[in-house]
Symmetry: C2
Subunit: 483 residues, 2 copies
C-alpha cells in the first residue's frame, strides 16, 4: 500500500506563501486555501457523510468547487464530478449508478433536484462546531479511488471511470516530465472542472506548487486579459478555443509557453497559423480513462507530423493491436495504452472493466497506427467505422485530408446509405469561403483510395460536438444533416 | 507489481535526438547511447552472468561506466557500486557480502584483483555474437533492487543499501518537482558515479530526457570551462567544490540555475559569498538510504534559515522522534524520514533492516529538530554525541556557531576526555587568518550554554572527511589531532 501525505496539506507546509489560485480579482496562497478548506471540511464533517462514501459534485467553475474537492479528500470521500449540461434524467442515472450519499451543489441546481438524496450547498452546510472533532485523512492511499467521471457515452450507456490518487499523481508527473516545470508556471483553466482536462490542473497545482488561474468559462477577451495580467504560461484548450485565440491575437502572449490541445487533431490551417503567430501548441490524445493526456505531440513536430497525436508521456506505453497480434508501423489496429495514469476500472462494473483491459493494456476502442518513428496517428473511434463494399473506412482519415485545405475550418465524415456499396462516406464542412466541389474532389483523389472519396460534400455552420468538444459523427446522420 | 518500460530504451524512443551525455569532446544522443549499450549488453550476455544476479562495478567516472550501468539493467543484473578509494580488503568484504557473480572494472583495478571472482573489463568481455540471442528486460519492476551501495561505515561495518528502480524514479521526480525542469537543463557531474549523488544524475538523464555533462573528477578550471561551453544549468557539489568555485569565479556563470549542495551545512561566510556572487545554492540533506537528497533548502532561505537543511521534497515526510514520542518544534530528537525514495532495506540483513525502520519511517540515526515552520536543522550523527556531566552535547550545534565567524572556513567538534565532566568538547578549525581565542570564546559565550563551550580550540590545515565529504569526528580523536 503506497501512501502520500494529503497533497494540499503537504503543499501548504512546503510552500505556504506561493499563490495557489487566482479567480477574477481574488487570490489564495496555499496556506490560505488550506485554511479555508479546513473550515469547509469542518462543516462537511457535521453532515451524515462518512469516510469511504461517494458524493456527487455539481457546480460551475468557481473557487468553492476547488475547495469542496480538497475538503472531500480531507474527509476520505470519493467524488463523482457531474457535467452541468446533463438533463435531470441523465444526472439521476449517474447519482444512482455511483450510489452517491449526497449531492454537493450550488443553489441554481439544488432547486432543480427533487430526488431522495441529501443536497447541500455552501449556504446550507451546517456551521462548523469546534467541539465536533473531525477525523482528517492525513494520507492518500495511491490505490484508492479519488474521483469518478462518467464517460461521454458516445457508445453505450455512461460508465463511471474510477480515477485513483495514483492515477492523478502520475498524470501530473508525466506531464511535467514532458513539458517541463518552472517556478513561474501559471496554468489557466477555462475548461469545466468536471472534465479531466480541467480537474487535472487542480492536482498539478498542489503537486507542483503551481498557481491555477481559474475562469468560470471561456471568454476570449477575459482569457486574453488574464493571460497578460497574470503572466500565464500554460493553458488547456480545445480546438474552438484555440481558434478564438488565434482570431483575437496577432501574436502569442510572451508569457505563454504551452497550449495543451485536447479533443482531436487540429486542421492544418490552424496549426500553420499557430506556428506563424508563435503559439506553442501541444496536440494531445487522451481520455477520461487515462486521466487526461497520455500521448502528446511537441510543437516542433506539429507541422512535420501533421495529424499525429505524438508519442506517449514518460512511463506510458502504446501499441496498435489487431486481434492478438501487435501491428507493424502503418498497419491499422486498435490503440492500446498502458501506464500508471490509466484508470482502475469502471465503477461497479467488473465485467466491463475486465473487458476493457487485455493483459494490463487498456483497449481504447480507437483505431490508429504508428509511423516508423513511433508517432501515433488516431484514425477513428471504432464505432464510427464506415464499411463500404467490404472495405473499412475511417472517417478521421478523410477528415484529416479535407482539413489540409486552407479554407476548411472543421470537417466531419460519416457513413451514408448506398444501394450499391452499403455505405459511402459523406463529408460535412465548416469553411471560411465557399470551396468549389471539384477542388475538394481533386484533393481527395490525390490523397485517398477511390473507395474513400466522399459521395457528397455539405457546407454547414457547425458540427455536432459533445461537452468535451468531441465530434459526434453519429449525430451527423441522425440530426438531419444529410439531405 | 508496478512496471515501467526500461528507461533508456523508452527515452531513446521518445526523444532519440536529444543529447544524453557529454564527456570531454564527445557527445552521445539517446539513440547513440542506446545503440552502444545494446552492443555492450550483447557482449555481457555472452559471459556466465544471468538475470537476477549481482555484479560489482569498480570504475572511475567514464562513459563506459554509464553504458555498463544501462547494459546491466538491460540484462536484469543488479549492480553493486564500489568506491574506488577502498583498500583491497574492504573491497573483498563488499564483494563477498553482496554475493556478487562478477566484477566489471577497468584494467588498473583488474590487475589488482586476485580473488576467485570472474573479472571483466570492456577489453576482455567476449565479442558480440549475432547468433547468440540475448534476453532483454524491456520493463523495470519498480519494486526490484537496481543498485546496491555500501554505506560509508562511520558506524559499524558497511551494509549494502538496496535501492530499487522505484526509489530512483521517485528521487528523480521529487527533485524535479522541487527545482523544476527545463528543456535546456544540463547537469554537470564531477562527483563519483559510485556515490548516489553522482549516480542519481544518470537516472535523471533518462527520466527527464536531460543531458549529463560528465567529468572524471573535479578540476575547478575544467568544470568552469565546461559550465561555460555547455551552458550547464545544474551541478551537484560538496562544500570543498563550492569553495573552489567561489575562489575561482567572480560571479555565477549565467547558465547555472542550481548548485545542489550535499554533505552537511555550509559555513556562513560561504553562503554569504554565494549570495553576493549570485550562486543559487540549494543545501540538502540525504543519505545513501534515501537515494540522494530528501530534504532541501531553497536559496531564498539560505541566509534567513542559516544552518537549516530545508523541507522535505514533495511526497516525502520527516518527523523528529524521542523514543515513541514525536517531538514538538525545537525539541531535539532522532530524524525520521519516509518517502518512495527510501531504500527497500539492507542487503541480506533482515534484522538490521527491521531495526532501521519504525512503522514505515526510516530511523536516520541523526539528531535534529524542526523550527516552527517545519524547517529541518540537523544537529549531529547520534554516534558523535558528547555526554558531559550528564548533559547531551551535539557537536554540530557548536560547529554551526563557530562557522558564523567570518574567518572560519571549516569547523569540527569532538569529545575530549576530562577528569571532572567525563567529556568536554574540543574544537578544530580551518581558518583564513589566525583568530584570537578570546574572540572565539566570546562568540560561544553569546550563543551557547556554558557546558557547551569548547575546552580547547585547535587550528588545523584540514579536517578528516570520508569519500562522501562527510566530517569524521571520531577521527579527530583517533588521528592525533588532540595534543
Amino acid at each position: 500500500m503506497m501512501k502520500q501525505p494529503n497533497w494540499l496539506l503537504h503543499r501548504a507546509y512546503l510552500t505556504p506563501d506561493r499563490v495557489a489560485l487566482i479567480y477574477q480579482d481574488k487570490k489564495w496562497t496555499f496556506r490560505e486555501l488550506a485554511f479555508e478548506v479546513d473550515e469547509l471540511s469542518n462543516r462537511l464533517a457535521r453532515t451524515s457523510l462518512k469516510k469511504g462514501e461517494t458524493v456527487a459534485l455539481l457546480m460551475n467553475n468557481h473557487p468553492q468547487m476547488v475547495m469542496l474537492v480538497h475538503a472531500c479528500f480531507l474527509l476520505g470521500l470519493k467524488i463523482v464530478l457531474l457535467n452541468n449540461k446533463l438533463t435531470k434524467v441523465e444526472r439521476l442515472y449517474q447519482l444512482e449508478d455511483a450510489k452517491t450519499a449526497a449531492l454537493l451543489t450550488e443553489p441554481v441546481y439544488a432547486n432543480d433536484h427533487d430526488g431522495d438524496l441529501p443536497v447541500y450547498t455552501i449556504e446550507t452546510l451546517p456551521e462548523a462546531d469546534q467541539d465536533h472533532k473531525k477525523k482528517i485523512e492525513k494520507d492518500f492511499d495511491l490505490n484508492e479511488t479519488a474521483t469518478i467521471m462518467y464517460t461521454s457515452g458516445t457508445t453505450g450507456r455512461p460508465k463511471g471511470v474510477e480515477q485513483t490518487f495514483g492515477n492523478h499523481f502520475h498524470s501530473a508527473v508525466s506531464s511535467a516530465l514532458n513539458v517541463g516545470l518552472r517556478e513561474d508556471d501559471r496554468w489557466l483553466i477555462a475548461l469545466p472542472l468536471f472534465h479531466i482536462s480541467g480537474l487535472s490542473a487542480l492536482f498539478k497545482s498542489v503537486i507542483y506548487g503551481m498557481t491555477v488561474v481559474l475562469h468560470q468559462k471561456f471568454d476570449v477577451d477575459e482569457v486574453k486579459a488574464s493571460i497578460e495580467q497574470h503572466r500565464v504560461t500554460m493553458i488547456s484548450v480545445v480546438q474552438t478555443m484555440l481558434s478564438c485565440l488565434l482570431s483575437r491575437l496577432e501574436e502569442c502572449p510572451s508569457s505563454l509557453r504551452c497550449l495543451l490541445l485536447g479533443g482531436g487533431p487540429a486542421p492544418y490551417a490552424m496549426l500553420q497559423e499557430s506556428k506563424e503567430k508563435g503559439f506553442p501548441v501541444f496536440q494531445s490524445y487522451g481520455m477520461t480513462e487515462t486521466c487526461s493526456q497520455i500521448v502528446t505531440l511537441a510543437p516542433e513536430f506539429s507541422v512535420e507530423k501533421l495529424g499525429s497525436a505524438g508519442k506517449p508521456l514518460f512511463g506510458c506505453e502504446l501499441k496498435i493491436q489487431d486481434g492478438q497480434r501487435t501491428c507493424r508501423p502503418f498497419e491499422h489496429g486498435e490503440i492500446m495504452v498502458k501506464g500508471a495514469n490509466v484508470m482502475k476500472g469502471y465503477l461497479h462494473r467488473e465485467e466491463e472493466t475486465a473487458a476493457a483491459f487485455d493483459q494490463g493494456w487498456l483497449k481504447t476502442g480507437d483505431i490508429g497506427y504508428v509511423d516508423e518513428e513511433g508517432f501515433l496517428f488516431v484514425l477513428d473511434r471504432r464505432s464510427d467505422l464506415i464499411i463500404s463494399g467490404g472495405e473499412n473506412i475511417y472517417p478521421a482519415e478523410i477528415e484529416a485530408v479535407l482539413l489540409t485545405h486552407p479554407y476548411v475550418k472543421e470537417a466531419g465524415v460519416t457513413g451514408m446509405y448506398d444501394d450499391r456499396w452499403g455505405e459511402v462516406p459523406a463529408a460535412f464542412l465548416v469553411t471560411d469561403h465557399k470551396i468549389p466541389e471539384n477542388e475538394l474532389y481533386a484533393l481527395c483523389q490525390s490523397h485517398l483510395a477511390k473507395y474513400k472519396w466522399p459521395a457528397v460534400f455539405q457546407f454547414v455552420d457547425e458540427l455536432p460536438r459533445n461537452a468535451s468538444n468531441k465530434l459526434q459523427r453519429h449525430r451527423l446522420k441522425s440530426k438531419g444533416f444529410l439531405r
